[in-house]
Amino acid sequence: MINQFVFVLFNGLASGMAFFLVAAGLTWVFGILKILNLAHGAFFMLGAYIAYTIGGASPSSLWTFIGVALLAAIAIGIMGLVTDKFVLGRLRNVDYHYVLIATFGLMLFCEGVAKAIWGSDYYSVMPPPEVDTAVKIGSSYISLYTILVIVIGLAAFAVLELIMNRMWAGKIMRAVANDPWMAGTIGINVPMVLMLSVVASFALAGFAGGILVPNQTLSVHVGSSFILYAFLAVVIGGLGSIRGTFVACILLGLVESANATFLPEYGGIAVYVLLAVFLIARPQGLFPPQGAL
């Protein structure tokens, strides 16, 4: 039984960190621009394809693997810049319905582009050789790659927390998120901050695509396996709260893992129960942001 708990813990944490890597960009852009980007999963998918195209099916080393993920982040960040200029930037002052429709259209466009470039075949990417093995803890087999995902997830959270709470850049972003008009009157270049937020959000999606692609079949649908949990985490954590999203992702991962281990015949149902409980008991989320991240 202890072995099972250890496995549930590791597995849940790994899933949670994977969810967080995807959800971080989603909650960031929501926190500052108040935009629910339905195309976030599509840019995650493009990041995965770009990482595959640059790094191939078998990355030669851990550092190559991480470097390729960073390149994917840069590429998707540039796409974010273009998207902000031609789509999101034009929707700053319109009703949110239009934003939802626009990002949904953007998602379909990205899927079409991916199909046109990479076709409808499936691809696979293996973890780098340093983590392409497992350790046995009790009777449980723990993949080193999942431990890598946990480490990268924790590091990503630490960096985001540092930026938001300890650096000027974060404080400026929080000021813009809290009151863009007032931020503008004190000399902050609000459009620039908003644009950089979109770029950062997209770059996070691209980075997540590059890091998580060894875990999933690479196809135009690869984003859908993570994006649902990312949305759930954003809702449970409190819309726009990075800290809340982080805790929610861990909760979702643990609940999902426990569900699969102890109640496999009801696979996948526990996360929806968790969501329902939160929507009833704490609809504002775990850490509702008070106008800021």
Binding site: Y123, S124, P127, A134, I142, N215, L218, G267, G268
Partner: protein
Amino acid sequence: MKRRTLLKGLAASASLSLGMRSTYLRAQSGPLRIGVSYALSGVGAPVGTQFMKGTEIAAMQVNRDGGLLGRQIELVVRDDKYNSAESVAVARELAGAGINLLIGGSQTVTALGLAPLAPELNAVVIIAGAAGMPVTHELFNRNIFRTVANNYTQYSSFGRSLIETHPQVKTWISIAPDGDFGRDSALFFGNAVKKYAPGKDATVLDTIFTQGTATDFRTQINALMSSRAEGLYIGVAGAAQISFFQQARGVGLYDKFRVIGEVGNGEVTGKAMGRNTYPNLWSISYWNNDLEPFKSNPLSQQLYKDYVESTGNKFPPALVMAGQRSAMALFEGVRKAKSSQTDAVIAAMEELTFDTPGGPCSFRKEDHQMIATSYYSQMGPSDTDPFYKILQMAQIDTSQMIEPATPGVKFDIKDLPQ
């Protein structure tokens, strides 16, 4: 009636009948239009597009040899989007356009929509790829013909084939999606392993179930790794199967199991995994031109040649043959009937035997189930493009493994003699 009125009436009737006659003649001399409805987009597209290519080649081959009934074949292609409701809409649209010959159902989900509709549309419907038992049991009607083995035959034959080629593997286990298909295929496979094991000394452990659309298999992989099984059947298909292999490889599953059989992804998995393909992976297959018995079959050689010429790809997926065979079954039925009328084609196909790249095929008259040889391929990694290769083919005569025909009656394995 006045004589003038009578003459006018006769003249009008004559001109009307001549007009109809000329229309009729024009229609008969035009191309023979055949509807095709496969999953060409969505998650079913990797399978549907391969069926489509095979069907296109079949039409091209027949047209090159002068056509059918003196007419060229024109395929009217629609995308069922791997969606049952869409397959119904497509079939109705094609029937509305006057098409009574239809090839479709590249997967069970769409075939379940198509099959019950065929009598209402007065169409002959070829169910090309759906192996679900209801098609030739409770959903059976005389208008449908299935051109693949059903699940019971397919997975019983697969279990038999694997235990006969790996008699040293004594303990087996399955991982399968928790649904009708997953449960059935694991059950049929396991029963056959026990039945055909030399000395009947094989043990089949309880199946590990997962969700059909699961993306995380770590819990199930851990259970497989902790089991004492040496042989594994994977009932998880499509992209999920590739994710399974990605997640399993890193924890040592490749070293633990001596043989793995998979549900039928075949080259889809090989192509995706490439050099990381499990080295003793067995799959339900239809065709490999480089290996016997296909190597010495002129129809197989011609199919390969036509595929390479039309695509430029030298590595055709096996499902291309299934798509070609499905179309050829219909074309040969029309040829034998010397008519494209529904009743005539049905009557002809019930008595039909025809050659294919995989050997002779015929239909069982009672339930319109195709009887053919089933093939199983062993796949492994390769250092050269496409970085996987088919190492050998095994075959089972499905006439030995098929259940008795009970059209209209739901299949229940408990009704079979044990």
